[in-house]
Symmetry: C2
Subunit: 290 residues, 2 copies
C-alpha cells in the first residue's frame, strides 16, 4: 500500500517516541528530527509506510549512535512472553480447537505490547487471554479450516515474523501446525524498532519448531525488492506464506502470490482504507491467486 | 513557551487537515507538505508553537493559492454562534452571577467548534450550555471577584480575541463588564487558521461593545515582537489585558506584564507541562506583576 498523508504525523510521532527510548537529551533528538524532516521532505509516498520507516529508523540509529535502540525492550518482551508461555500453552491444548486458539493467541501476542505497557499486570494479561479465547471462537471457521488443511498438505511453509515477544506466541501456534511441512521462520536481518531479528527468534525458541532465516532487510515489514535472493527463493517456493502483523500487511497486501495475513488493525488509515475497524483481529486470505 | 518535540507530530497533523479543507488533490497537498517538512527541518523550537504555525500556515496559503482557507468555516461559525446568542444571553442574564456565567460562556465559545463538528445538534449545544453553567459555579469566586473589580476600576482594557464564532461569546461577556473602561478588542491582521480577523469581529457585533484593532500579525497567538507598534502601545497602556484561547496563552504565558488568561486546555503538552488536565477550563491571573 501507498503511504497516506495521514501516516506522516504518525511517522513523526513514532520518530520522537523512539528517540526518547534512547536518550533524554531533547537537543540531540531535535537535531535528529531535523534530519527526519529533511528525509520526509523528499520521501516518495508511493512506498509503503514501513519502507519510509526504514530510512527514518536508520537516521535514529545513526544519529543517536545506537545500533539497536529497542534491544532492552525486545529482551523484556521475550522474557515476559516466555513467562506466560506455559499458561497459554495449557489454554491452547485444553481448548476445543487448539489450532484456532493458538492462532488467536498468535494475534494476541501482537498487541500485548509486552515491553511498552507500564500497567502490565495480571488483569491486563487475563483480559488479553480472555479476548484471545473469545476471538478464537469468532473467527470464520471455514477460513480456519482452509488454512489448517493447507498447512496439513504443505511441504514448505514460510512464516513472516513481526515483533519480539510475539515470537513466543508464534512458536506456540507453529507447534499446533498439522502435517510435516518444512517450516521457515523469517526475521529482519538488522534491528529495526522492536521487530524480531535472529537473536530474538532464538530467544523465543523458534529454532525448535522452524528453521530461522533472515530476510536481508531492516524494514518493519517485507519489501520484496529489498529482500535477499535467498529469502526470495524461499518466498517463491513455499506452498504457504503466513504473514504476521500490520507492517507485513502494509508491504505485502498487493503481492502477486497468495498470502495468509494474521494481524490486528492498529491504525485508522488501514481501518478506513480497507473497511475494517480499529482493533479488528484479522485472518485474511489474500486475493492474489497462487 | 517553547515548542515541545511533542508539538511536531501535531503541527504535521494540523497542516494535513488544514490543506484538506482547501483541496482534495492529495498530490498538491503532498507537494505542500514537502515544503512544510523543509520548514520544520530548520524550525527553531525556542519559538512558541503558534509562531511555528505562522510559517506553516503561510506555506499552506501560498501553495494552495488560497489567502483564507478557513473563510467559509469562520463564516459558518459566526452564523451558528449568532443564532445561539439570544438563548445564551438569556441564560447569562437570568443566572445568579451574570458576569461569571458570561465568562464561562466565553470559554465555552472556544470549544464549541462551531464549524468543525459534523454532529452539531441540539444535544451538543445544550450539553455545552449545561457545562458552561456548571463551570461558572466551579470557578474560583475570589479570582472572578478580582477580575470583576479590576475591570470595574479600569480605564482601558485590551481583550485578545481568538477564533471566529467564539467572538460572539466574547461580545456577550464584554456586555457584562462593569464600569466604563474603554475596551479594545484585538484580532489578527491577516487570516490564519480560523482565528478572527477584523471581518469576523465585525460580523460578531464586537464593534458595538469595543473598538476593534488588529495586532499586525498573522500568528495564531500573540507574539509581541511581531506585533505592530500601534498594538504594542495599546498592550502597554491597558490597565487590564484579557487573553482568550490556548494560542494566546502559548505565546504570552511568559509575558512581563500581568495578563488574565481564559482558555480551555486543548492538548497534552500544555496539560502535562503546567500541571493541568486535558479539557480544563482555566481563568488564570498570570504571575507577572503589573
Amino acid at each position: 500500500m501507498r503511504t497516506s498523508l495521514d501516516c506522516l504525523p504518525c511517522i513523526v510521532r513514532q520518530a520522537v517516541d523512539s528517540a526518547r527510548m534512547v536518550t533524554k537529551d531533547e537537543k540531540q533528538i531535535l537535531k535528529m528530527m531535523q534530519l527526519v524532516f529533511q528525509n520526509l521532505a523528499e520521501a516518495d509516498l508511493a512506498m509503503p509506510p514501513p519502507e519510509i520507516g526504514q530510512e527514518i529508523y536508520a537516521i535514529i540509529r545513526r544519529e543517536l549512535k545506537n545500533s539497536d535502540p529497542f534491544l532492552k525492550l525486545k529482551k523484556m518482551s521475550t522474557e515476559r512472553a516466555l513467562a506466560l508461555a506455559p499458561e497459554v500453552k495449557e489454554k491452547i491444548i485444553s481448548s476445543d480447537y487448539p489450532f484456532a486458539t493458538a492462532l488467536a493467541f498468535a494475534i494476541a501476542g501482537n498487541i500485548l505490547d509486552f515491553g511498552v505497557r507500564s500497567d502490565w499486570n495480571e488483569a491486563v494479561i487475563s483480559g488479553s487471554f480472555h479476548k484471545a479465547a473469545q476471538k478464537a471462537k469468532m473467527f470464520d471457521t471455514g477460513k480456519i479450516e482452509t488454512l489448517y488443511s493447507e498447512i496439513k498438505n504443505a511441504k514448505k511453509i514460510l512464516y513472516l515474523g513481526d515483533n519480539a515477544g510475539e515470537t513466543v506466541f508464534d512458536r506456540l501456534f507453529i507447534e499446533q501446525f498439522p502435517g510435516s511441512a518444512e517450516i521457515f521462520y523469517a526475521v529482519k536481518s538488522s534491528p529495526v524498532i522492536n521487530d524480531a531479528t535472529f537473536t530474538e527468534a532464538v530467544e523465543a525458541g523458534l529454532h525448535n519448531v522452524a528453521k530461522i532465516i533472515t530476510n536481508g532487510a531492516d524494514i518493519p515489514g517485507t519489501v520484496l525488492r529489498k529482500c535477499s535472493p535467498d529469502f526470495l527463493s524461499h518466498y517463491q517456493s513455499a506452498d504457504i506464506v503466513i504473514s504476521k502483523g500490520q507492517g507485513n500487511f502494509e508491504t505485502l497486501n498487493e503481492a502477486e502470490r497468495k498470502i495468509w495475513f494474521l494481524f490486528q488493525v492498529k491504525c485508522e488509515v488501514i481501518a478506513q482504507h480497507y473497511g475494517y475497524s480499529l482493533g479488528d483481529w484479522l485472518l485474511l486470505e489474500s486475493l492474489a491467486s497462487e
